[in-house]
């Protein structure tokens, strides 16, 4: 048994994870070696001191602050106003309204696109030209609309040219909101290995933290060794923003592959 293994055993003993037989066997081994005895003593002492750590008392005003908040909540409930606990319900209503509005705007936009396509002969090639043109001259809002309608959840087929166009926008567009919309759109095709590979590459070049987060989230949904290596690289690169490292570490944890 090497020293590292014995160290693990010592920790397991102090965590109460060993059986009586295992514990006694460990004690017998420790007794035979002075160095092991010192190692055991250091762990034993550390655990004992950890157990003695006491909690720091909170300041008394904390309770009155919370009571004040609670009173407001109770008054709001009694007077029929929305307390914070029911804000979630109104949020759901807002979400519903936003969804209806988004569908409405999308429908108008698709109808306009259709009109334009018909004017140009209504071919797929023309639609791509419209998409490429929209990416060049339009405002960020218009671009986002075009990117969002470019995804059709009834038809998950997408051709390489459109993917290439989307990655071009991700690389070149100055607006982080536009790039975020591109990542969201590309996430629908994350099962494609070329999309995953290109997203992995774009992680190094993406300057905006929130776009990076969206890419990380998207890649995490199809976690594999390559993504794991990339994520570990991000965690180890201290030049990365803390919240990015946190998020990546969380994902590595979620997939049980964090190295401590």
């Amino acid at each position: 048994m090497n020293i590292e293994h014995l160290e693990d055993k010592m920790i397991a003993a102090l965590e109460g994870e060993l059986s009586a037989t295992e514990y006694n066997a460990l004690m017998d081994t420790i007794e035979t070696d002075k160095e092991l005895g010192l190692l055991w003593k250091s762990y034993e002492s550390m655990y004992s001191d950890l157990n003695k750590l006491e909690m720091v008392q909170v300041c008394p005003e904390s309770k009155s602050k919370f009571t004040e908040f609670l009173d407001k909540e109770i008054r709001a409930t009694q007077s029929g106003k929305s307390p914070s606990s029911s804000k979630i319900i109104s949020l759901v209503d807002w979400r519903r309204l936003s969804a209806i509005a988004a569908i409405f705007i999308g429908a108008i936009f698709i109808w306009n696109m259709g009109e334009g396509s018909l004017d140009n002969g209504g071919t797929l090639g023309n639609e791509k030209t419209t998409f490429a043109q929209a990416m060049q001259g339009s405002s960020s809002t218009e671009k986002i609309k075009v990117i969002r309608v470019s995804y059709d959840d009834n038809n998950l087929e997408i051709d390489n040219e459109t993917i290439k166009l989307l990655f071009d926008v991700l690389r070149k567009d100055e607006s982080s909101n536009v790039r975020l919309a591109v990542v969201e759109s590309l996430s629908n095709y994350i099962d494609r290995s070329d999309v995953r590979a290109a997203l992995l590459r774009s992680l190094d070049k993406e300057p905006d933290g929130f776009v990076k987060l969206a890419i990380i989230k998207s890649l995490s949904s199809r976690f594999n060794n390559e993504i794991e290596n990339k994520f570990e690289g991000i965690v180890n690169d201290k030049a990365n923003e803390k919240f990015i490292i946190d998020e990546v570490q969380k994902e590595l944890f979620r997939h049980g592959s964090v190295q401590i």
Partner: protein, 174 residues
């Protein structure tokens, strides 16, 4: 908590009394800033009321509350740049009777806290939750979103690292 969920909001005061101390100390251990720890504690209990409808009674309340605390802490962390993060060290209270014992105990506690503070965030969190908060591995696994066995392995590594910091960097005497 089930009473709060069913609309008896006033019962939240009892939960605040019972869990304010562990939640405050959790934030204090992670952020080393009393004022921030106090604000974040308030935030947790406000969120507890706000999201009471989502509480699932199959889950242990303490683990659920610490999950909220963890999210609150992560949100706070994202808002700040590293230079804004306070380095105020944790002050440890002791109930030892004898003055010498008090001094020795306090010194050792401070050494331990200093060593814990030298650990990376996630490792510090594991030690804070398992050793300071004395939560079970199953509860911490639930809070962090990790498999219990994986957590045990990580926790063993954290203890090795903590010992190494104590011996090599803090010159801890045992």
């Amino acid at each position: 908590m089930l009473n709060v969920k069913s609309g008896k909001i006033s019962e939240a005061a009892l939960l605040f009394d019972r869990y304010q101390l562990p939640i405050f100390n959790y934030f204090l251990s992670l952020n080393r800033n009393r004022m921030l720890a106090d604000d974040l504690t308030q935030n947790v209990f406000e969120k507890m009321i706000k999201y009471s409808s989502s509480y699932n009674d199959q889950r242990k309340f303490k683990a659920w509350l610490f999950t909220i605390a963890r999210n609150v802490n992560n949100d706070e962390y994202r808002k700040k740049v590293p230079s804004e993060r306070s380095e105020e060290f944790c002050e440890i209270k002791s109930e030892a009777n004898n003055a010498h014992e008090l001094m020795e105990k306090s010194e050792k506690s401070q050494q331990l806290m200093a060593a814990i503070n030298l650990l990376p965030d996630i490792e510090r969190e594991i030690i804070v939750l398992t050793k300071l908060q004395k939560l079970k591995f199953s509860e911490v696994a639930d809070i962090i979103g990790m498999n219990e066995n994986t957590l045990k392995v990580k926790s063993h590594r954290c203890m090795k690292k903590l010992r190494s910091i104590l011996i090599n960097d803090i010159r801890y005497e045992y």
